[in-house]
Subunit: 149 residues, 2 copies
């Protein structure tokens, strides 16, 4: 795909032929503005696409660091317009991990963007990257992993 | 990184400098063999790394379609050795989406690899890709999205 070429919104996942790949993780959220503040303003993601489905009374919002070029590896937020109760968290699902150049900076920054500090930055393995955990506005656990030595 | 070069296992996420990126989603599983059968034999992923942590009595297994070259976008399985009860699923977490060239083939194939068919392949949007849902051996929902027209 050339720069500036229009993307068919029905085929945002691209056409990579025979190569299967991971596309996104979906979580349900209660307050889209709070989520966008956390993931976009706080973590630097962009909204790839937003679909507001009047008939089903829900919205889908695709977030990513990448673009459409190779198919987005992204987070999908589902917002059900009539959801009154907070969503529950079972014991099975763990977290989404995001690689960042400076774990401590991201960890501290996210507290100003609706994140709740959970596990402070530390080296889980000697000589390895720093890691930390922050909860997003709906309580989903986000792991921050250092990607710069 | 050149082909065949050894990867420092502490830095499998790569060193991409300033560019943050999505790394993986973690889920807890009860039967590693069943999970590997589903994700590797059934869905074509590979084990990037497996760490058995005797001191904490847990194992971490990283699965991916990619390699280490650009940092793996992967699924992380956590296996707690002493977990007796099935994990619970809350109402919040949704699914992991995987792009595949043939949704119906993958959907049918996974039934032979410990998957439970959930939503049969269909076009969610006219003119768009086929999509389907299958549950993995622990009940996590996997969305299959067609990536070939």
């Amino acid at each position: 795909m050339a720069d500036g070429e229009t993307v068919d919104w029905r085929w945002i996942w691209g056409e990579a032929g025979e190569r299967p790949r991971l596309l996104h993780s979906m979580v349900r959220v209660r307050d889209v503005d709070a989520s966008l503040r956390f993931y976009c303003d706080g973590l630097g993601m962009s909204v790839l696409d937003r679909h507001d489905i009047e008939a089903g009374r829900f919205s889908l919002i695709f977030l990513s660091y990448a673009g459409y070029r190779d198919g987005p590896a992204a987070i999908e937020l589902t917002y059900n317009w009539d959801q009154a109760e907070p969503y529950t968290h079972g014991s099975g699902y763990g977290h989404i991990a995001i690689g960042v150049p400076d774990v401590r900076a991201a960890y501290e920054r996210l507290a100003d963007y609706g994140g709740t500090p959970s596990v402070a930055p530390k080296h889980m393995v000697e000589g390895g990257p720093q890691m930390a955990f922050v909860k997003d506005p709906d309580g989903y656990s986000i792991e921050l992993i250092q990607i710069r030595r």
